[in-house]
């Protein structure tokens, strides 16, 4: 049996077991609703304009945070790679970055920027950018020095070197960074919406919870999960496609 089949069987089995436990009232419906009800509710929610609005709002903010993190992370990694002193000074901060619960800054961002999309994008960015930066820096460390000698040999300009040699050489690291960026932006922004916001998916879940509307809450949670899976597999598919194109002689 292949691992993929076994994995699918496990997920399906877990969902069925949960379904059975809920239907047999081993789990109180106040705690958890059956997965089939969650799916039905998620589909029903998707026909409602307010859900679509929340979805569009959250996705737009996440996309902005991802793009900003990728751009700034890449740029900062290239700069830091050429500035060893600055990099050494920043090293201890980068290394312990994720040990610091930065989401505690979110309320301060709201106080400064107001209750709108900017503090959300900022917290997503703050969560995601070091992941990108660290991944690309590691990638740059691994580029064989001969590549830079090659660029000198061919008298390439700096832009040419970056576009033709450095970027392709660090492409795997860039994709690692992008995957982290996607995950962290979602986590930061949905958590922020959950803590303090007036719209978005995270806010909708918190709101449903406060109204004891279990069905809506679980439907929304399933939607968030589906959204994450879609985003992650999108990045994976893009990576595979680009790899194939690069590896073709």
């Amino acid at each position: 049996m292949k691992a993929v089949t076994a994995r699918a069987a496990f997920v399906l089995g877990a969902a069925l077991a949960l379904e059975g436990a809920c239907r047999a009232h081993l789990v109180s419906p106040m705690t958890l609703i059956p997965p089939s009800d969650m799916a039905g509710e998620a589909l029903a929610l998707l026909t409602r304009p307010e859900t679509l609005n929340s979805l569009a709002w959250t996705v737009a903010n996440v996309a902005a945070a991802i793009l900003a993190s990728i751009a700034v992370g890449l740029l900062a990694a290239f700069i830091l790679h050429r500035r060893p002193r600055l990099r050494r000074a920043l090293d201890p901060f980068l290394a312990s970055y994720y040990a610091v619960p930065f989401f505690v800054l979110y309320p301060i961002f709201v106080a400064i920027l107001g209750l709108n999309r900017w503090p959300l994008i900022l917290i997503g960015f703050v969560f995601a950018v070091p992941g990108m930066l660290i991944a690309v820096l590691d990638g740059l460390d691994g580029v064989p020095p001969i590549i830079f000698k090659l660029s000198r040999l061919y008298r390439m300009s700096r832009a040419q070197t970056i576009a033709r040699l450095t970027l392709p050489a660090v492409a795997p690291a860039v994709f690692t960074g992008i995957k982290l960026t996607v995950a962290y932006s979602f986590i930061g922004i949905i958590a922020g919406e959950f803590i303090l916001a007036d719209r978005g998916l995270g806010f909708a879940i918190a709101d449903a919870y406060n109204r004891f509307d279990n069905r809506t809450m679980y439907g929304l949670m399933l939607l968030v999960l589906a959204l994450l899976v879609a985003a992650n597999s999108g990045v994976h598919a893009a990576e595979r496609r680009l790899r194939r194109r690069w590896e073709r002689p």
């Binding site: 705690t31 040990a99 505690v104 106080a111 400064i112 995270g202 994450l228």
Partner: protein
């Protein structure tokens, strides 16, 4: 890594310089944003000192400390054996690794209603949050470390008919010592994060609770003082474990 080594004092001086720049930046933002959004660095330091002297604050600090200790212990006790087992059984590892990795990307805050329903308000929910955040990275790092062990070590264990406990303590753990330290470090910081999230929503005690109370009562200087304390603790514990981690990695790769 082929980075040229600098004088340690120069690096330390640069770090201090960066911290000074950060405080100046803070003061600058404070000037622009105003006292309703932010308290100044000096004011925050005074508030923090006051907090650290008040007995009620120490009760909250102790609550967070014990929840953190309990969740970290549970994260290790549950996560390590799971990682070891999944690392040894190649097929099971291949099946579960992607599942765990995608579970890890879920914004766990949104699961708080479920956790609250299962564990109730208080210590249980906090600890559950801590474990939820910390356990997956511990399992994944341990799993990958065990996979990288030369198979001959594990075959030897089988030939010697070691018990699972002996395999774990005599072969696996010593072989993965550096990665073990990495996983403990990552696990610790994420458990801290989880416990604080738990306290913000599912508790009446602890730093996370004080923080959310400060925010909802517009007590700016208290909430910023607590934020600074949390960041300082996270950074300090992270740096300490990182130093240990790097030392172990160096020792293993260049045995004296």
């Amino acid at each position: 890594m082929n980075r040229r080594a600098a004088h340690p004092w120069q690096q330390r001086a640069d770090v201090v310089l960066l911290l000074i720049v950060a405080v100046l930046l803070w003061q600058g933002i404070y000037r622009v944003a105003g006292a309703s959004a932010l308290s100044s660095p000096l004011e925050t330091a005074a508030t923090l000192l006051g907090l650290l002297r008040s007995p009620i604050f120490l009760v909250h600090l102790r609550a967070t400390g014990s929840a953190l200790a309990l969740s970290f212990a549970l994260t290790i006790v549950l996560g390590l054996p799971l990682g070891l087992a999944l690392g040894l059984r190649r097929f099971a590892g291949e099946v579960f690794e992607p599942i765990l990795a995608s579970l890890y990307t879920i914004p766990k805050v949104t699961l708080y209603p479920v956790v609250l329903a299962l564990f109730g308000l208080g210590l249980g929910a906090k600890v559950a949050f801590g474990v939820m955040h910390g356990i997956i990275p511990v399992v994944l790092i341990t799993l990958n470390a065990v996979r990288a062990i030369p198979p001959v070590h594990i075959k030897t264990a089988r030939v010697l008919r070691l018990t699972p406990w002996q395999v774990a303590t005599a072969i696996l753990l010593p072989a993965i010592l550096p990665e073990l330290c990495t996983s403990l470090r990552v696990g610790f910081s994420l458990t801290l994060l989880g416990v604080l999230v738990g306290e913000m929503f599912a508790s009446q005690r602890g730093l996370g609770f004080l923080l959310i109370k400060g925010i909802t009562t517009f007590d700016v200087s208290t909430s910023i003082a607590i934020t600074v304390l949390i960041i300082a603790f996270g950074a300090a514990s992270g740096a300490l474990l990182l130093a240990l981690d790097r030392r172990l990695h160096r020792r293993i790769s260049h045995p004296a």
